[in-house]
Symmetry: D2
Subunit: 269 residues, 4 copies
């Protein structure tokens, strides 16, 4: 433990932000100059990559996070609305309560899909490989065959595939994957998740489209978002959506009805 | 209580999102069509106002939330980093921990400034009053004189004024207020907070510039964000910034050092 | 702001706990000696009062917090279970999510009842007044008449009165109030909430028994718990109950069913 | 996914609590009868085991959770105090913020130690094995030898061993392990963690006493707390301690000083 202590940095430092009386910089960029020119998604990119995105990175990154903002009355939104009923004085507490459900079950599938792309594809990440280093479709297919077999043996679901409503394709995933290609990004990760979808569907006899989290996991890998940070995309996006849910809850509440119904059913059980 | 129950909606409903196998709509807008064209700030606007912003609303709204993303190693960021040290398995928990500190002390000043604008100015809100209904500078000054006197009597600080570092002006506030004017928005709220700054500075003999939260409170009122939702702007923005802090904490940690130093000092006290 | 800074303590200190290689003390008490002799409620008392309770304080304090542990499938428990569905990797996150709903609406009524007792009764607090300083029943009644009239004028509910199920008496409140008397505590606070219940019931023509939070607010005041900390009793107790709910949720889950039903109803609305 | 849905329970039910106008039961026990006789730790036991503890279970269980309440100004307490500075209106938010840090790094070691006991020892759990089924000291030693070798090969730390301050023994662990024996519980789990400590110390040449979390992991296994719930003991205990920290923070604040110092150091870096 003394070793641990001595290994920790002696100086407390952060490179994120600097202020003088007349300036504020964020990762070396002049904040004041960015106001009015940089949108929220681009600023989120700056927080993750320490630089602003170019135009096509901006388009793809904003599309990925926009996809994650609003998924209707999910468990996360239900938790936030229940919390707001009990503590209306604390909007931040209700949002926090909803964010806490963005874990392994839901947002974790982005992480899972990103992990597959980042661990199995050589040098994944935006354009960091030359065209002739890219895997051919045959290579991608062989890779996908192996992964499907592996998950099948372990009786595990491949993250990022399948959807209860969006069948036979998830229109959000389809759009995001197309967008990545139209913008000219390397599509190795996209081809991998598409191959996984095709092969897993054939093997299982079920309809297993690439879903939104699968596409986001693949394209986040293309942009260079490390897998361990991928769920952060969901967290930042959903914080926005949860504020929207609390606005609706205030105007047209459902929490008391949900509670009353559950309580009535429980007391009869 | 039975009254309470009967007053609650019988039906659980939400107008936020709808899905069919091949479509997703958010507040009636086609989500798939928005991917690649709508940025994250505009989508946040959609969550709050149930419609997309026009171009100048987009510019101003994005500027307001961008201002709130990153304020350095604040108490909120310290809490998030401390939590990440203890629970690295749960990025969402660390972000939630940081969000919980966005309450009355810090983000509440946006709410306070917005409240003053929305309660004291007739028909505040984006362009909802005709030009000849707008208050003259003399009227705004008289209003501000009254508010400063009132707060002075109650020995309360006027929210949105003063800054420990940014003196004699807060460059972020200055930029935001100018941006609102350049975009052609009604500047009644802006004139009010500027008058409050001028009069409060004179009365107190201290330098009390409009600060970032004061400008955001005024301009959020101009855009029509209700005061009770104003802290939601801070929550959604800071969720983004906190993901950035956790990325830095993972790469270049400070939490253990902070903890060791505090513990050492406490044990000597 | 520089004033603020200079007013803050220069030294970081805490009187709560001290460790040497062979000892640990908490508020000056030997922790090791307390293990096996002090129960969890008594230790909670130590955290609040910096000393261990005597026997009757122990009995009453444990009864108060035990009352708050388990209230069935409340909004707080629903939020925790929803969060656990999304993030099963983080039991602490699910408990935190449930705790966040312990705000003004529910646990705040303890605070409200305590506030009435502590602000309206002279020298409230355990036995800190001599017998002949205690208010007579007539004085308590007159005080209660005034409070009921005041709340009625403001159209506010008196905190700690009324219950949807427990009528005409709340058996938990009845037991706690009796326990306080049997243990020989000053019953001024208890007489006050009982008088409020009687007078408010008469005035309104409704059955408004002292409920559990009303009795706890009164008796917490008797023990000397400051009103602003009263909701802390609910927080510490419910953290225990929420762990119980998550155990049940793991063994016999309801969160997915709740979610599916809400989603089905919303999509038909 | 449709399979998932159809496998979920159709009925929403909970066996935890029932209310009639004049009664409340928790796990079938009369709550009113328990007020004044059952302490908070025993009630926590009821939440976990669906029955009240007998006397020796009560003593050991209360000792385990009392050990976890107060560990001084830990990262968890720092997070709670920072959050309270920003949101003093929400005591529950500050406690939640502190609870969120009770994850894999700190409280997770209880889980890790419990897992070793529960996976490696046959039929672990309170007295569920007859005396002649218990492992001999030789068998325990052989088991421990294997575990130490395994962890050493994987270069992993054995959870529950070692402490930066409490050397050569952790007085809390020593007391808890002795208490378990004095109360007559099967000591197989205790012997296992003690053997691990002895062998790991020998192998590594470092002083690696059983620490508090190691002893709690072992004795929680003896009592029959499943490993996946073990961190719940920490969560319920620390919620109590965090309320204590917020009381101290209100009376004698440190958060602003910590923040100012960090900010000053960061801005010089």
């Amino acid at each position: 433990m003394s070793t641990t202590v001595s290994r920790t940095p002696k100086t407390i430092r952060s490179a994120m932000s600097r202020s003088t009386p007349s300036t504020v910089t964020v990762f070396g960029q002049d904040l004041v100059a960015m106001l009015g020119t940089v949108n929220l998604g681009d600023f989120a990119y700056l927080e993750l990559f320490k630089r602003l995105p170019d135009e096509r990175e901006s388009t793809l990154f904003n599309a990925l996070v926009v996809t994650l903002v609003e998924h209707g009355v999910t468990p996360s939104a239900i938790a936030a609305r229940m919390t707001y009923l009990g503590a209306p004085e604390s909007l931040q507490g209700a949002v926090a309560s909803g964010i806490l459900g963005l874990g392994n079950t839901f947002v974790g599938t982005i992480e899972g899909a990103a992990k597959i792309c980042q661990e199995r594809l050589p040098q994944s990440g935006a354009d960091r490989i030359s065209a002739d280093e890219r895997m051919s479709d045959e290579q991608i297919n062989a890779l996908a065959e192996g992964i499907v077999a592996e998950y099948s043996t372990d009786k595990r679901m491949i993250p990022g595939l399948g959807h209860p409503v969006h069948k036979p394709v998830d229109p959000r995933a389809q759009k995001l994957l197309r967008l990545g290609r139209e913008l000219g990004f390397d599509d190795s990760s996209s081809r991998l998740v598409e191959a996984l979808s095709r092969i897993a569907s054939e093997r299982s006899g079920r309809v297993l489209p690439v879903n939104a989290t699968g596409a986001i996991g693949a394209l986040a890998s293309t942009l260079g978002v490390p897998a361990h940070v991928a769920r952060g995309l969901g967290v930042m996006a959903r914080a926005i959506g949860l504020v929207g849910h609390l606005l609706e809850e205030k105007a047209d509440p459902i929490a008391t009805t949900v509670w009353n119904r559950i309580e009535a059913e429980v007391s009869e059980s």
